[in-house]
Amino acid sequence: MALGGRFRNLGRALSRRPTGTEEPVPSQEELNRVPGAELSSRLDPWWWLVAAVAILIVLLLIFKSDPYWRILLFVRDGLAITVLLTVVSFVFIIILGLVGGLGRIAKNPVIHLVATLYVEIVRGVPLLVQLIWWYFAAPVVIQSLGQALHISALANYRANAILLAIVGLVVCYGAYMAEICRAGIQSIHKGQMEASRSLGMTYLQSMRYIILPQALRVVLPPVGNEFIMLLKDTSLVSVVAVADLTRRGREFMAAHFNPIEVWTLIALVYLIMTLFSARLISWLEKRRSY
């Protein structure tokens, strides 16, 4: 066959390549080994720090139950509020951040402008000022609007401190999260999008199955960072009538005046929560290595 002759030519052309000098082929076991995976099979040593702080707290509660146990009982509802604020806000922050991040890379100039304005304005105002604005100014704005438009539901609006605190946290952190999402998506090589589009997948399919899962791995460390910062920054809501952990601590101190014990315990409670979160994030990161 004529084609056969051509292939013989190729064989000759290719045989000139230095195929004899091949490197020893690594075994399947070696190829399957992911750098860093050895660590994840063992217990992360930083768990010991979490354990140490936990033991310290338990010891204080047992051997100095007065006042530590009394303080803890007093602030426990505040602790619940802090956890609730953090978790609920974070869910909405992720959603807002994803939408904002996609808006920042959108080709549509209007969407891009809105997303960019949002990020730039919100990033430029201190979180504490934003929280105060939402609690003290926003209700008045809503009431005035309601009066002007004759909508009685808005005109009679009564500020809900926890709800407005969540709105304040979500709006502020959403802007930072939008930038993290944008950077994460843009960090994925554009060849990934080209490959998926060339297979006939739509833009949204490519985002969902190819780009976002890969971006997730990239953004996990900064997103985890945001989570820990959020957990600590919820303490700012104590100035806008939300009875969180910090505010309850201040109330206990006002009644009994023992600042050392109160603020040591409150600090340790924040610390154990952030340390624990950090370990969880690190575990998630290792699980997603490929």
Partner: protein, 245 residues
């Protein structure tokens, strides 16, 4: 007996002020293997990328399998028929080899998982990497990655395969394993457009070679004729540089 599957007519493409394609007219018949040669920046890759609309051409006309490349719906219809292999492989790095092959089958071709996996395993066997089906791209060599990428494109049952410098990012000892797969494809009668400087492959498999420079097709012909007696001075100068290596 011959049937035109790609029809390009006076295609122009600009990148800003750079005139990348200057009036390309080209017809490719079913079963043809066309190798495109030319110096860096001559528009070879751009030409290829216009065929599946990764680049949007500015004027002229491109028809693929009787479908005019215009509206978004047409583009997805065309892309399903046109497989593309990239210089940098572009395997989905968060998916295993077999998942790379099944994802588009399931989301675009709407095949069931089992059917998609059967097709994927058959194709992985064809390119000789069945044992690496569950490996991630980072665990594969360049040659293996490129063979998976070829299998991934074939899983969509394309009528045309585009190869954009498929061996340029490979170490020398891995080039042969990729070219062997491409040769086997050519032998089966797949319509292929290949941007490559692999003269051995061109001689062995190409039914036609095209030489491009500065966004234009300078000349074309059978590989033997083009390599041994080019009619244009530019072709001769280019070939003398490439062939002496």
């Amino acid at each position: 007996m011959t049937e035109t599957i790609i029809h390009m007519e006076d295609v122009h493409k600009y990148f800003g002020r750079v005139h990348a394609l200057r009036g390309i007219s080209l017809d490719v018949q079913v079963g043809e293997v066309v190798v495109i040669l030319g110096p860096s920046g001559s528009g070879k890759s751009t030409l290829l990328r216009c065929i599946n609309h990764l680049e949007v051409y500015n004027s002229g006309k491109i028809m693929v399998d009787g479908i005019l490349l215009k509206s978004a719906q047409n583009i997805n219809a065309v892309r399903q028929e046109v497989g593309m292999v990239f210089q940098s492989f572009n395997l989905f790095s968060h998916l295993t080899a077999i998942e790379n092959l099944t994802l588009a089958q399931r989301t675009v071709r709407k095949r069931e998982r089992q059917e998609a996996e059967e097709i994927a395993l058959k194709l992985l066997a064809k390119v000789g990497i069945t044992d690496k089906a569950d490996c991630y791209p980072s665990q594969l060599s360049g040659g293996q990655q490129q063979r998976v990428a070829i299998a991934r494109a074939l899983a969509m049952n394309p009528k045309i395969m585009l190869f954009d410098e498929p061996t340029s990012a490979l170490d020398p000892e891995m080039i042969k394993e990729v070219l062997d797969v491409m040769l086997a494809l050519a032998k089966e009668g797949m319509t292929m457009l290949v941007v490559s400087h692999e003269m051995g492959f061109a001689r062995a498999a190409a039914s036609r070679c095209i030489f491009m420079d500065e966004g234009q097709i300078i000349e074309q012909g059978t590989p033997d004729k083009l390599f041994s007696s080019p009619s244009q001075e530019r072709t001769r100068v280019f070939l003398s540089k490439v062939l002496q290596l």
